[in-house]
């Protein structure tokens, strides 16, 4: 509109800008500031709070090393397993007549809260073989029941029934059990997005490959995966952010006990249970630093979209 006054756009933007300023921009700056102050945000302490995270002086109260390693586990395993399963399911569901039903079934956990999912899976993982579905299945197949949420042993020890735990610390049974719940919830997301990408691949390309004698695996590996790779990146970045910030699931299922703490749960404990705003803020900044590469990728992708619009 030609006759718009200069302040009209700002009037439309004002409510959003005020809310974003008060609840996001100012807090981010303030949290960074507090990460250099002591536990009551009174005195400047330099990098002491970050030193605390690196040195891990209180492993029994707040095990920062274990939390960092567990976050790396979440980032990698959760993302990789979810993307792979989502991709497999996107391909499989596209080939059957009951596609809609199959997709809904896999997708349902997305609508459920992490709290409800935690209750569901605490029940599945229950140690008592009369009640716990997983342990009932394991014992009926001749295996030994396991305390899935408490067992810090390595998975191969459980599989082969003998020690020693040769794998490094974060690869422990209870962490894997937690991550699988995350996978259960997010596979539907990966499947839906990847399936939409898959529908965009022209059938002529696939037909041509079949005529040339390519088998289904070759088509998947050499045609579908390369064409889908931009979509896979989008899905993976979303999952990385999810895996990074994971709080509810760990908090409700184990409360971070048995070495299952992640940075997000440790942040909550330090800032709001122990009451150390300094270390709490530093842990939040660690999360932000981990997100930064994804943020840069997002901005780049956005700028590219704008240029090509």
């Amino acid at each position: 509109m030609v006759g718009r006054r200069w302040w009209t756009p700002w009037l439309w933007l004002a409510p959003a800008l005020v809310l974003l300023g008060v609840f996001l921009v100012y807090p981010v700056v303030d949290t960074i500031r507090r990460s250099f102050l002591d536990e009551r945000s009174k005195n400047f302490v330099g990098f002491d709070n970050y030193q605390f995270i690196i040195d891990n002086p209180q492993p029994l109260v707040s095990d920062t090393h274990s939390a960092l390693l567990n976050n790396v586990m979440w980032l990698t395993l959760f993302t990789v397993i979810t993307v792979c399963l989502g991709l497999i399911l996107a391909v499989l569901t596209g080939r059957v007549r009951y596609e809609a039903v199959a997709k809904s079934t896999i997708f349902i956990p997305m609508a459920v809260s992490f709290v409800a999912a935690s209750v569901i899976w605490r029940f599945m993982y229950e140690f008592n073989t009369e009640i716990g579905t997983v342990n009932a299945t394991v014992t009926s197949l001749g295996g030994e029941p396991t305390a899935w949420l408490q067992d810090t042993g390595a998975p191969q020890t459980w599989l082969t029934q003998r020690g020693p735990d040769t794998l490094p610390q974060p690869i422990q049974i209870n962490n894997l059990a937690l991550i699988l719940v995350g996978v259960w919830m997010w596979t539907g997301f990966a499947m839906v997005v990847l399936s939409a990408g898959l529908k965009g691949i022209s059938t002529e390309v696939l037909e041509a490959a079949r005529v040339d004698g390519a088998n289904e695996w070759q088509i998947f590996r050499r045609i579908i995966v390369p064409i889908l790779s931009p979509t896979i990146v989008v899905v993976a970045t979303t999952l990385v952010i999810q895996g990074l910030k994971k709080f509810d699931l760990v908090w409700v299922m184990t409360g971070g006990r048995f070495k299952t703490d992640v940075v997000a749960t440790l942040f909550y404990k330090e800032a709001f249970r122990i009451g150390d705003f300094g270390v709490g803020a530093a842990l939040a900044v660690v999360l932000l630093l981990w997100v930064l590469p994804v943020m840069v990728i997002g901005i780049r992708r956005f700028q590219f979209q704008e240029e090509t619009r």
Binding site: V28, I108, F123, F247, A264, A271
Partner: protein
């Protein structure tokens, strides 16, 4: 596969015997596909079914035998657990709290984001691109980065006054207004991003002719933009609703008063006090899932559209 390869069907139709043979062979060839897919579908639904079945079993039955035994005696199912949990454990109140927290937060996000998105999409002003880039950056900022300052701000700005519905506290921690505003703000980057992209894709001619006819921005916004954007707004509403409904962390920190606790917070407390008391936990969890599941099944199309339009915020 018949669709992809019409020649096979044509030839096979010539003889009933060959047709039967071919169908059998095709089914056999595709057996592994069906087995794998149906296996995964069963695996994915068992946990939810286990929860649902258990929530209707008697307390003694849940504690002594697996949920799969319910099929032996289907008439022993009861709604007693639901009665207990709603009345004695205060889930009815928590459900009410969840609604009070979620509905205004969802409405506010849509309103505020739509205004801003309209400006971003159809108005020219300095620093427009820079501001929008900031929005894209804020999309991925972990909510943890904001919680300490927001809590400090709320404790400093607490306002107590007796008002209907809002309870004794108008603003600050443990106030409805406080949590509405926080959830609205946290939802804004995703909402503005989604809506701005959608508004921007509406045909330019529509706007130009409306402006030429002398329509004001307000008129264009309410008469043209909003009605045409219902698909995007529906998707956004579903996401924001589910995000707030399913949130634990923000409620945990900003709602100290147990009387205001939404269901997620309530259930999380039940888990710490009744760790293995599954008749309480299963029914409570299912009450909290009921509304999201209804929304999911009724509005699945919009849900998927929303996901495809802008991935998901966390």
């Amino acid at each position: 596969m018949a669709r992809r390869n019409p020649s096979t069907t044509a030839v096979a139709a010539s003889s009933p015997f060959t047709l039967a043979l071919q169908t059998a062979r095709r089914l056999a060839g595709r057996m592994p596909l069906h087995l794998a897919l149906i296996g995964l579908m069963v695996l994915w639904s068992i946990p939810t079914i286990a929860l649902l079945v258990s929530s209707f079993r008697e307390a003694t039955a849940i504690a002594s035998s697996g949920w799969w035994n319910a099929i032996k005696n289907p008439f022993a199912l009861t709604v007693e657990n639901y009665q207990t949990v709603l009345e004695k454990q205060g889930m009815a109140r928590a459900f009410f709290n969840s609604v009070i927290i979620t509905v205004p937060s969802t409405a506010l996000v849509i309103l505020v984001a739509a205004w801003a998105a309209y400006a971003f999409a159809w108005m020219r002003f300095p620093a427009r691109n820079l501001l929008f880039l900031l929005m894209v950056a804020l999309l991925v900022v972990p909510v943890q980065m904001t919680l300490i300052p927001v809590l400090r701000l709320y404790t400093d700005l607490t306002v107590d006054a007796q008002l209907p519905i809002l309870g004794g506290r108008v603003f600050g921690t443990s106030s409805y207004v406080g949590i509405w505003l926080a959830h609205t703000a946290y939802g804004l980057p995703f909402a503005i991003y989604l809506l701005r992209n959608f508004f921007g894709s509406l045909p330019r001619d529509l706007f130009e002719s409306a402006y030429l006819d002398g329509a004001s921005d307000l008129r264009v916004f309410f008469r043209i933009v909003l009605p045409l954007s219902m698909p995007a707004i529906s998707a956004l509403a579903i996401f924001q609703f589910l995000w707030v409904w399913n949130d634990l962390l923000v409620a945990l920190i900003l709602l100290g008063d147990p009387d205001l606790a939404p269901m997620t917070l309530k259930i999380s407390n039940l888990v710490s006090s009744f760790g293995t008391n599954y008749q309480v936990l299963t029914s409570a969890a299912f009450i909290s899932m009921a509304l999201p599941l209804v929304i999911f099944f009724a509005l699945q199309r919009y849900f998927v559209q929303g996901i495809l339009a802008g991935a998901v915020k966390g």
